[in-house]
Symmetry: C2
Subunit: 241 residues, 2 copies
DNA sequence: ACAAAAGTGTTAGGCCTACACCCATGA
DNA sequence: TCATGGGTGTAGGCCTAACACTTTTGT
């Protein structure tokens, strides 16, 4: 963080923050990472103490190359989770005058998708907690709104991008993948049609992990085929659901 | 604009601007509205004098309710064009450290679509000029990049939204509409297929303006049917092209 | 033994694509 | 008269959507 002192401008300037909506998926439910406010040492952050909020914090004007760096840095500081600036997408800017009671603060909402299986251990359980998306409590500031907007972005992205790649664990089952799509799009699909379509795209490789394919109970495991996916994407395609 | 004076903060704050990408369509080509820099009276805006740029300017911390208000206000000031804050969409935040040589300036890129026929008269020709999208000169700051990103958003929006509604003049012909889609999506369509599909959606009403439908030369005129479109949208649909 | 989870294939209908000819106007 | 622009319909193929039964395991 920049040194505390006296910074003087000819015109008023707003403070700028980055907030992070981190989506994960545990094979059953869509999750979001939240932090409890008030644990920070910095005295300037005394608003909404004790409430749940999105991870995030102030742009360091001298050090953060872009606002995405702010998002990355603050996420790491507050939750222990490391996400590269380039892995964030923007969900929009929130700039209502009174959204922060202390001063005019404009926030740039970022979102990212992580494999919960990879990161759960990294997450600093002290301050941070994964919530079911459908059971998120009321949040500090206008973070409820930010969360809704980020989710809407996710819902739109899924038509164009392999959202599964980023959210599913390395190896997964078709029912899990279907459940993820259903969670995000808030609809139900026919099991057979979903399987047909997914297999048709040619982006799933069957994984033989030795567990007996005894009859039909316990699902076949798959892995994404990144090459085929990239191929498809280059030729311009759209996941139809 | 806020009064000039001394504004003191404990930590450095960036300046925040809104920039506007205004798309129009003249029935033949996609257009963008640009301003020539250096005409402003404000001394603080001395960078890139004489170059073309996107309209835009600084957030007025005390008066602008949201950053979209900044976009609306600055657009009006610089080009005479009046667009409501709610009619802007965001294309992203641009925050590279050196994107403005004067100080750290973060800009929120906004874009909007206008009926060129409606607004051409309003546009203040002194400072502002409509350019063919394909012939935009090199722009000040990182505005080239902002323009590309805004266009990419437009290209994506067109799959979900009646971009035509906003860009076409009240009454238009099918070839004009097709040309618009081709300009934005950068592809060519079969004339018959395009017409079939559009008519199928039921969002076009034929307009009988009295000009004789003599044989086939001079095209049939249409108008969008907003009710049918809203209906479709409510039920959730996707324009397939 | 019953409920829950998962695997599998076919058919009908709708949508997309490709394609050719005619007419009128303006040069 | 020739080039240009615009209007129009159909057939084949592909993709989508709808649909039922069997197996296994856990309770």
């Amino acid at each position: 963080m920049a040194k505390k002192g006296q910074y003087i401008y000819e015109y008023p300037h707003p403070a700028v923050t980055a907030d992070c909506v981190i989506f994960g998926y545990d094979g059953k439910r869509l999750k979001v990472l939240l932090v409890k406010r008030g644990q920070e040492k910095e005295a300037s952050k005394e608003a909404y103490v004790g409430e749940w909020a999105l991870p995030g914090g102030f742009l360091d004007v001298d050090r953060d190359k872009t606002i995405a760096y702010t998002a990355s840095r603050e996420l790491k500081e507050e939750t222990g989770l490391q996400i590269k600036p380039s892995e964030f997408k923007e969900a929009g800017t929130f700039s209502e005058k009174k959204r922060d009671p202390r001063e005019r603060v404009i926030t740039v909402a970022h979102y990212a998708l992580v494999k919960l299986s990879d990161v759960q251990a990294d997450t600093d359980a002290e301050n941070a907690e994964w919530f079911d998306f459908s059971e998120v409590p009321s949040l500090a500031f206008d973070h409820d709104k930010i969360l809704r907007v980020a989710f809407a972005h996710l819902k739109r992205d899924i038509h164009f991008e392999p959202v599964g790649f980023e959210l599913m664990s390395e190896v997964f089952t078709l029912p899990q993948l279907q459940n993820l799509y259903e969670s995000i799009l808030e609809v139900k699909f026919d099991r057979r049609n979903f399987a047909n379509k997914m297999k048709h795209y040619g982006i799933l490789d069957e994984v033989d992990d030795g567990t007996p394919r005894n009859g039909t109970r316990n699902p076949i495991k798959y892995r994404f085929n990144k090459e085929n996916y990239d191929d498809l994407k280059r030729r311009g395609f759209q996941l139809e659901f």
